[in-house]
Amino acid sequence: MSTIKQALSSPFRGRGGLSKRIIPCLDVANGRTVKGVNFVDLRDAGDPVELAWNYSQQGADELVFLDITATHERRKTMVELVKAVARQINIPFTIGGGINEIADADALLNAGADKISINSAAVRNPALIDELAKAFGVQFVVIAVDTRINGDKNIVHLNGGRIPTEKETLDWIKEAESRGAGEILLTSMDHDGTKGGFDNKLLKLVNDTVHIPVIASGGAGSVQHFVDVFEQTNVDAALAASVFHYGEILIPDLKEILRQNNIEVRTLAS
């Protein structure tokens, strides 16, 4: 009886056996990873494919590549990256950064990307979400939202949190869902880089409001932060960059702790 009660009060009730996902995020420019990657056993820490393969072997459930290439060759370098990843990696991955039109998305889909992530292009032209969902299906369209508190409100920001918009975060996320977003990647710019934990209050509010998967981002500093975000908000996935790149958190250890906390995670083939 107590087990039944426990099961009914669990925040993970009603998920079948669906796992919580752990997602390393890689920043790339001109086909190379940027920002600190400090793996001891990598031959070439700048090679996004080798890094991605390494993460897939460790048990990452999914990968996000954020392309920050700032040249007119951008689409070509992104397509090359996506093809190289799709050839080698046997888990799903998302690519984001500078996707402005259907043709960008089409090229990335055909190169093997599972999802694309759109941020500022969707804020500037919300109808782009409808077009992408119609052309490729909602499962292909991740809307990335950078949020920062302005006064007492969560406001959508652009350019890595530097430029505030007119949009309130929850309103924008609801609009994105209604237009055809298949998933929300929510980054708290107030928490990002602090290593003080995820913005669980906002994440819970968003997760309780929408009916599509939510990925938490910004603030991961310890294993406990991942336990907290899943227990307190019930989001579907948690994303981090530096704690994984610098080896501060190893994915097998993280998953073991999550499992000990009765959080459903994927078991790897031995």
Binding site: R13, G14, R15, G16, G17, L18, S19, R21, S56, D61, K83, A86, R87, Q88, N90, I91, P92, D106, L109, N110, A111, G112, D114, F136, G137, V138, Q139, G182, E183, H211, I212, P213, D236, A237, R266, T267, L268, A269
Partner: protein, 220 residues
Amino acid sequence: MNEEEQNIQDEQSSPLQTPPSGGGGLGIIRYGAGNIFSLTAALERLGIAYGMVYTEADFEQFDRFIIPGVGHAGAAMDKLQNTGLVPKIKSLTKPVLGICVGMQLLTSYSEEGDSNLLNLFPVRTLRFKDSADYKVPHTGWNKVFPEKENILFKNIPSGSHFYFVHSYFIEYDQTYTLSSTDYNNKFSASIWRDNFYGVQFHPEKSGKYGETLLTNFSNI
């Protein structure tokens, strides 16, 4: 983009494609639904010879087939009808594996687009019920439990995780369900009848166990 352009684009973006080497290979049935780059990449990694099936004559070159597919089941069925390959597919006696929407096409009917499908399996494809606890699409890694002995799940422990992305599912059926998964309701993660197989998850994106399943299919 029309279908022809889609096909051409697929060709251009698939430098991995190798011609079948005199039989023994796996034919991917092409009908303009979905991208196959990740699937062919997985076959390359696994060393499974493959080629493309566009016409009825192409079927003779291969000894097993995959029906890929993502997107809208009704639209996919329309595209498949347009190829004229439906009678040939239904008459196949060599192993056939439908993946995701390619699997749903094997069933009798889908609520998506209120569509009649191939009816190789007398079961229906239904939409997940809207619910606060179960988000739709069902996205991510979920546990798959084989319900019958079959080579497709050889060396894959019961309860292994596979990667799913779908809003519609094939109803559970004691006769045809090969493996089941639970998400709001129990549904068919895979189906099996004679030489016909289908998997709802994406083996090409499901880590090592997904690759094992593809290898197993190549050995049926």
